[in-house]
């Protein structure tokens, strides 16, 4: 795999994981950039024994851990960003040109709803949810990426799904 192919094939995936780890688009961009640059540098040494995605997500999680260790609460909490891009802030990404405006607005609202629902869930729980639901990773793979026991993966998935379920029940009841 060339560095170009790595970026083309995995950037959106890595960015989605980073978005759930960091909790806001600005920090997610920084995190995804760090992770991808490290992966590009390390790519010649990647022997292809594991899935490139699993390898890249481990790098992203390590980058996030380093930032959380050095930058403190903002990174650990994720959604409570100091620059105001919290769960209630509108998504700053410009809308893609292809989908109709109504669909895009609906998608942005859904995205904000997911952000709000996951606001009180730990970043690692959100990451486990992304890896399971969007990447279809096994419990063992998620455990390896997040460096936790398999039993912890199951608990994290349950907490994240339960938070989403509660939030959606609240929004439907309102």
């Amino acid at each position: 795999m060339t560095p170009d192919e790595l970026v083309e094939s995995y950037l959106d995936r890595a960015y989605t994981l980073c978005l759930r780890l960091a909790g806001n688009p600005a920090d997610a961009s920084d995190l995804a950039q760090d992770a991808m640059l490290r992966a590009i540098q390390a790519l010649p040494g990647f022997r292809g024994e594991s899935d490139p995605g699993t390898w890249l997500y481990r790098i992203a999680v390590n980058c996030w851990k380093n930032k959380a260790a050095s930058a403190g609460e903002r990174w650990r909490k994720g959604l409570a960003s100091l620059d105001g891009a919290g769960p209630d802030a509108p998504a700053p990404d410009p809308p893609a040109p292809d989908p109709p405006i109504d669909r895009e607005l609906e998608r942005q609202e859904e995205s904000a709803e997911i952000d709000r629902a996951l606001a009180d869930v730990a970043a690692e729980d959100r990451a486990a949810l992304v890896l399971r639901e969007l990447e279809d990773k096994s419990y063992e793979e998620i455990a390896a990426i997040l460096e936790v026991p398999v039993g912890t993966v199951k608990s994290r998935l349950h907490r994240a799904r339960a938070a989403l379920a509660r939030a959606w029940e609240r929004s439907h009841a309102a």
Partner: protein, 127 residues
């Protein structure tokens, strides 16, 4: 009804990760517990909606920046290859030129060797 299952077992049901024995126990409990069935359905819907939302799109400027970084080493490699090719070409030209002028070069070489040899004899000859 007492809940004989852990909340995490519901994750195991959704992801089909329960052992046959545990799966049977959880199924038996679900059959008789409306609360747990409702919780399971609610979790399934949460899972499905999150899945349906799909991947986020990385910002265009981030993509452009990373693609530029990804191409940089390749450009460096290509520049190094160009240097090697130019150097190789230059050596080849020198070789061909040397070969074309070999007789003349050889004569000059023989003359120099003759001079050196003569000088050496002059120095070593008994007086």
């Amino acid at each position: 009804m007492p809940h004989e299952i852990e909340p995490e077992d519901l994750a195991g049901v959704i992801d089909e990760r329960l052992s046959p024995e545990r799966g049977a126990a959880v199924s038996a409990h679900l059959a008789g517990c409306a609360d747990c069935r409702r919780d399971l359905e609610s979790l399934r819907q949460a899972s499905a909606r999150f899945k349906a939302h799909g991947l986020a799109k990385a910002p265009a400027e981030l993509r452009a920046k990373l693609l530029q970084a990804a191409r940089r080493p390749a450009e460096k490699r290509s520049t190094a290859l160009q240097y090697v090719l130019v150097l190789g070409g230059a050596l080849l030209v020198l070789l061909l030129v040397g070969r074309a002028f070999k007789p003349q070069v050889s004569n000059v070489f023989n003359q120099i060797m003759g001079m050196v040899s003569g000088a050496a004899q002059g120095v070593s000859a008994p007086r």
